[in-house]
């Protein structure tokens, strides 16, 4: 945990590990691929 004060940065600091988590980008890539596939099949 960081010791930042109660600022917008402090309140949203929990978002940072998500962006740095490779496991987050796997479902995101699959979701984007799924949307592209949908535009083709629909």
């Amino acid at each position: 945990m960081t010791d930042l004060q109660d600022t917008p940065r402090r309140r949203l600091h929990w978002l940072r590990p998500i962006v740095g988590d490779i496991q987050f980008w796997i479902p995101i890539a699959v979701l984007v691929g799924g949307l592209l596939l949908l535009t083709w099949v629909a």
């Binding site: 929990w14 796997i26 479902p27 699959v30 691929g33 799924g34 949307l35 949908l38 099949v41 629909a42």
Partner: protein, 425 residues
């Protein structure tokens, strides 16, 4: 920091309740198809999907409010705010996958499409082993039980699907196959957020509350794109208001099944929980054959195929159910959970307790808001039921009652087991 291993007796309890949840999920997810069968043709598949998701949304807010109270959701969010993002994303993935299945059925028929998207459980095993240490240290016999069982279930699913009464209407086969496989990949990958949430300790009832916002948001967006904006969507729904209740009911039943699926994913992992809940195909077939008389007049060969496919599928599910995680594997799960706790700054004690099925800090009791949510949800269902048209299908009510009793038995049995073991944690 080195987590103490979960006592062997406790681990056996958790695994047993996870397996039971997987089977209960299969029964309820399969039954969710039943209300949709009373809807006659002529409705846009996107509209069907949208109304089911509306039912799902109502159920996913009201059931947690009724069972535990929404104060628990707040506690979970304060501890693990990052999981809200994961839940929203998982909901979006579900909606896209579900819409793809609609197009797959249109183009290649349910009999080919179903086994193709059922490959999601195989992908779930891969992600579970690769990302969350599932099956690590499990030993050869358990590996064989899970992977062999899932493969055998897939073979059973293909056999059952081939006798499925919905035949291919003759669209573009390449597009249909791509849509079905795409849905399988999406659903298989959707289990990454599930496992992530439950390793870190989030309660399934909290996860689904946010999951459904992503689900409804994405589904409404897709409906607006494909049905001609809000006006086109409203017009489509207004034309079919007489059958909306049955679709909402399908969504509600589906949520109960999905809730059990979430508990299965939490306590036996996605590699085992997802194939177990894929027994929904068996239950869907039971409803089709006995309640709606779908195979009436078919020859012996067809019935032989149904019985053979069902036995094969049940054997595969049995192999998985007998291959639950032992202590060595569970230690590896704890390591994966520890990694999550460190990455996201979640208290290790919280993660450890939740992974063992304990909720020490959960507030109990319901507030006026919870009763308000339950009241509104009940009013929505009563409102739609008042406008519902009686189904035009011939229904064997004796069989419907029998299957409903079995489902309620599973609901009660599994619910009590979950309560006694984990307090629905």
């Amino acid at each position: 920091m080195d987590a103490a291993p979960v006592p062997a007796a406790r681990l056996r309890q958790l695994q047993a309740v996870g397996v039971l949840s997987g089977f209960a999920a299969g029964a309820w997810l399969g039954a969710a198809e039943a209300p949709t069968k009373v809807v006659t043709l002529g409705i846009s598949p996107i509209a069907i999907s949208l109304v089911m998701v509306l039912g799902v949304f109502v159920a996913r807010w009201s059931l947690p409010a009724l069972i535990r109270g929404t104060a628990n959701v707040g506690t979970d969010v304060r501890r693990t705010p990052h999981l809200v993002v994961w839940a929203l994303m998982a909901g979006c993935i579900w909606a896209v996958a579900n819409t793809l299945t609609v197009f797959a059925i249109r183009d290649i028929g349910l009999s080919i499409a179903f086994p193709l998207w059922n490959t999601n459980s195989l992908l779930g095993i891969v992600w579970g082993a690769l990302l969350f240490n599932e099956l690590r240290g499990a030993g050869r016999v358990r590996w064989l039980g899970v992977i062999g069982g899932a493969t055998v279930m897939f073979v059973g699913a293909v056999i059952l699907a081939l006798v499925s009464p919905t035949q291919a209407p003759g669209g573009s086969s390449a597009r249909g196959i791509a849509a079905a496989l795409g849905a399988g990949v999406l659903w298989g990958t959707m289990y990454i957020p599930y496992r992530k949430a439950y390793l870190t300790g989030m309660n399934p009832l909290s996860f689904i509350t946010f999951f459904t916002i992503g689900e409804l948001g994405m589904m409404v967006s897709l409906a607006f794109v494909y049905l001609g904006g809000p006006t086109g969507t409203w017009t489509e729904l207004a034309q079919v208001r007489g059958v909306l209740f049955w679709l909402l009911l399908g969504g509600f039943v589906w949520v109960v099944g999905d809730l059990f699926q979430q508990y299965a994913a939490k306590y036996v992992g996605i590699g085992r929980g997802i194939p177990l809940s894929n027994t929904n195909q068996l239950w869907g077939l039971l409803w089709g054959i006995f309640v709606f008389g779908e195979l009436a007049g078919s020859g012996r060969a067809v019935y032989g195929q149904v019985i053979g496919g069902s036995i094969i599928m049940a054997l595969g599910a049995g192999a998985i159910a007998l291959s639950t995680a032992a202590r060595a594997e569970h230690r590896r799960w704890q390591e994966a959970a520890q990694r999550e706790a460190e990455r996201y700054g979640v208290e290790p004690e919280y993660v450890r307790a939740r992974l063992s099925g304990y909720e020490t800090d959960a507030p109990r009791g319901r507030t006026v808001w919870d009763w308000l949510i339950v009241g509104v949800a009940t009013a929505v269902f009563i409102g739609f039921a008042a406008n519902a048209r009686a189904p035009e299908l011939q229904i064997h009510y004796g069989w419907a009652l029998g299957l409903t009793v079995v489902m309620l038995g599973l609901l009660g049995g599994c619910g009590v087991a979950l309560w006694r073991t984990t307090r629905l944690g």
